[in-house]
Symmetry: C2
Subunit: 243 residues, 2 copies
């Protein structure tokens, strides 16, 4: 029972991805783990290395990231409390990307072995985790579209929409606004733009009344308007299996 408060959010999330029975919940709650804390921008996993542990975010935010040969950085996804990051680590031999802390970050590190045993012995949990990675995949696809075919306003607005939805789902904000712990440089790395242009784009969205900024918090006076600007459809978040 000791893990319960810590893993509670994760168990509830997984239970929505696939039905779990009492034994499944027990098994999840009894997973062995060590709590670790990471400073902002420290690495949790590095490209090309195997990972010993599977990481569950308890507090704070992380992101996945890759570099081009020329040093260009692209952020691939942003993760919030309750997310398993590096579930791949349990099944793939080496990591194909870097995993970095966005904010100060408290995580539960679960031994890779324990995860593999869990999924071998609990098919419903395996199913739920698999659905989780499929939804991750869907979000990656949307990001390819975002970065490949939307102009800068749509791109930034779309990212803001996604964060709004996901944070609301995790109980960390709502559709009226939220605090985004990202610098404009990081937003640029999410969208494939430069920091300077992200700045101008945010300013333009603000000037158009689509968002209102103060510091790093964003408020959204008219959600429908932001959606329209972004061309946002939440289908890809598979909320029926995520919420």
């Amino acid at each position: 029972m000791i893990n319960q408060p810590v893993f509670d959010r994760m168990v509830r999330k997984l239970a929505r991805r696939a039905p779990l029975d009492e034994a499944d919940r027990e098994a999840l709650i009894s997973l062995p783990f060590k709590t670790k804390v990471f400073a902002p921008s420290s690495y949790l996993v590095r490209e090309g290395t195997p990972s010993e542990d599977c990481t569950l975010i308890l507090n704070g935010f992380t992101y996945r990231q890759k570099l081009t040969q020329g040093g260009g950085r692209q952020i691939l996804s942003v993760h919030i409390p309750g997310d398993f990051v590096d579930l791949e680590g349990s099944l793939l031999n080496v990591s194909d990307h870097n995993l970095q802390a966005l904010t100060v970050c408290e995580v539960a590190a679960i031994p890779r072995k324990a995860v593999r045993t869990l999924i071998d012995t609990h098919p419903r949990i395996a199913r739920a985790l698999w659905v989780d990675t499929l939804i991750d995949g869907s979000i990656f696809r949307e990001w390819i579209l975002n970065v490949g075919r939307r102009d800068s306003k749509e791109r930034v607005a779309h990212l803001l929409c996604e964060f709004a939805k996901r944070l609301a789902l995790a109980g960390l904000g709502d559709e009226h606004g939220y605090t985004l712990p990202m610098t404009q440089e990081q937003l640029a790395d999410c969208t494939g733009l430069t920091p300077v242009h992200v700045n101008r784009t945010l300013k333009a969205l603000d000037a158009a009344g689509v968002i209102v900024r103060s510091g790093r918090s964003v408020s959204i006076p008219d959600w429908q308007r932001l959606r329209d600007v972004a061309g946002f459809s939440e289908l890809y978040l598979h909320l029926d299996q995520a919420a």
Copy 2:
């Protein structure tokens, strides 16, 4: 045994993703299916719809695709014989993207139900399929990087590298060249460029001696050179678990 020749390539591929025993192979080979043929550019799955079947490509190529509100099209992935496409279809309620035939395409349509039963009763197969979707995810991540942070030459060259590797792996070409059944417009939709610019980029790569084109086949006089131009590293293909 009737399925054997048809499913053979798929079984061999999965067995590399996770160890399978004789019973697993039997179960895979005995999956019920219907063969279907799709004409180029016909839809196998449409965004927003559930899919009744899980699709295994026997011959030909398919691609996943999404549109922006403005009608911009982004290709998200390209699939070759032996690939399961729309495995998501078995676990997610509705599709978040379109699946289209690139060439004439012969597929095995396996009922969604049969797939779900299979994965519930065969944990090793479930594991192999899961690893398959994880590798798909890794490729999506690389595409985000490609489209987000590489310039047009790197982007096109990277795509050509990926196809070379994947086709070679499937026995459909090698590192000296292959035939790419895509129009320049489709290449543009893969890379987030315009067809005109893809044309100029291919011309430039050809002029620089990095590739040699004739019609739709590409030959690669110096693989290392193409890799360098693209900044290609095959780590993300997880060949140790794919090959």
